[in-house]
């Protein structure tokens, strides 16, 4: 247990605004894994989401899908909610040939397009993709707004894009789960940061 870094000798300070958190799931992944979990510790310590304004996640990995497709869909679930279509998502994607805008109502936020392990389909063996997630004002009574930026190029096959998403729930975010259609390969990694506001006038 450790006090947040902004508590120094029992005094509130403004230090590093981006606080590195520890995912609940051990990363980098030691074996193929379906879900990476990041859950608030709810204890008033560093890992307690309730003290942060925003949360940023930086994912770098790929899907275990070995055949039949060079891409997989990166998905975000909050607070164990996947039923219904809680998410509204506006997307802008480029695949190397075309750009496309699309909109969807989704049960989980389909936040990015990432590479698979389909080497026979043309994905180079050591290619990984990235998806960066920003969750805003995570403890407010607002719907939770978010943006993602993703990029991957499977040595000639690729996608780049941004999405804006709204989780139409007013509850605070206490749990973030990251998944795909297939497992995430061993070696996939994630960094998660809690973003503090200015606290001292």
């Amino acid at each position: 247990m450790a006090d947040p870094g902004y508590i120094v000798n029992n005094v509130l300070t403004d230090g590093e605004a981006w606080v590195a958190l520890t995912p609940t799931t051990t990363v980098p992944l030691g074996s193929d894994t379906s879900v990476i979990v990041c859950e608030s510790t709810d204890d008033g310590q560093v890992g307690d989401f309730s003290q942060y304004m925003d949360i940023v996640l930086i994912w770098y990995g790929k899907s275990t899908r070995a055949s039949g497709g060079t891409t997989d869909t990166f998905q975000v679930e909050l607070n164990d909610v996947s039923a219904g279509t809680t998410w509204a998502v506006q997307k802008l994607d480029g695949d190397g040939t075309n750009a496309a805008a699309t909109y969807a109502d989704e049960g989980r936020w389909l936040a990015g397009i990432v590479p698979t392990s389909d080497t026979s389909g043309g994905v180079a063996a050591d290619v990984y993709g990235t998806c960066i997630i920003h969750l805003f004002d995570v403890n407010s009574g607002k719907y939770k707004s978010a943006i993602s930026q993703y990029a991957s190029d499977a040595d000639g096959l690729g996608n780049v894009g941004i999405t804006a998403a709204t989780w139409q729930s007013q509850e605070p975010i206490t749990k973030v789960e990251l998944m795909m259609g297939y497992n995430q390969v061993a070696g996939t990694t994630l960094s998660i940061f809690g973003i503090l506001p200015r606290m001292v006038a």
Binding site: D14, G15, E16, A17, W18, M53, D54, W87, A88, V89, Q90, K91, L92, A99, A100, A101, T102, Y103, H134, F136, D137, S140, G141, K142, Y143, S145, A146, I147, Q149, I162, T163, A164, A165, T166, Q168, Q170, I195, L196, P197, R198, M199
Partner: protein, 180 residues
């Protein structure tokens, strides 16, 4: 000094037309605004607007602001440019308007690069969106240029047309970024 430090946060407790950060320290390499915003304007999505200032004075109200955008709404892709405006228009084009449910706030990040330079014009880059809406849910990657080489020491943020109110609950934090 922290690598990323929160310089100031404004969380509106009532509707207001202006959020302003003044006397910005010149000790960082870059600035970043992290924004959650709703505008009173009747629209689903709308831009918030920004003016910059230098030399300890008021923000620049002249037609010295330019910008470009690459955006999408529903199935439409949008590209565009605009210049000689009296405020940055595109760089923070991600506010929610009055035509979507009241808990909906758009969100985004705006980076203001090398703001303390006294020899370079100031370029900003924004990314954000607001995803709720029957016709105009929005996501965009945006730029802004302030045609002034002065070091930025003041940032003012307003709603549509640099006139409309920002809604209670709108929140902006200004961060300073250092490499060491």
């Amino acid at each position: 000094m922290a690598v990323i430090e929160a310089i100031a946060t404004t969380y509106l407790e009532a509707d207001d037309a202006l959020i302003e950060f003044t006397s910005i320290p010149q000790t960082y390499e870059h600035l970043q605004l992290r924004i959650s915003v709703r505008d009173v304007t009747v629209a689903e999505s709308i831009e918030m607007t920004i003016r910059l200032g230098t030399g300890g004075g008021a923000v620049d109200t002249g037609s010295n602001y330019y910008g470009d955008r690459m955006a999408g709404y529903k199935t439409t892709e949008v590209g565009g440019a605009g210049g000689a405006r009296a405020y940055l228009k595109y760089v923070a084009q991600f506010a929610s308007g009055a035509d979507v449910p009241s808990p909906q706030y758009g969100a985004g990040v705006v980076d203001i690069l090398d703001y303390a330079s006294a020899t370079k014009m100031t370029t900003a880059m924004g990314c954000g969106g607001t995803a709720v809406g029957a016709s105009y849910p929005w996501v965009g990657l945006n730029s802004g240029l302030w045609s002034n080489t002065g070091a930025v020491d003041r940032i003012a943020i307003s709603g549509y047309g640099y006139a409309a109110n920002l809604v209670r609950g709108t929140c902006v934090t200004l961060y300073g970024l250092n490499s060491s």
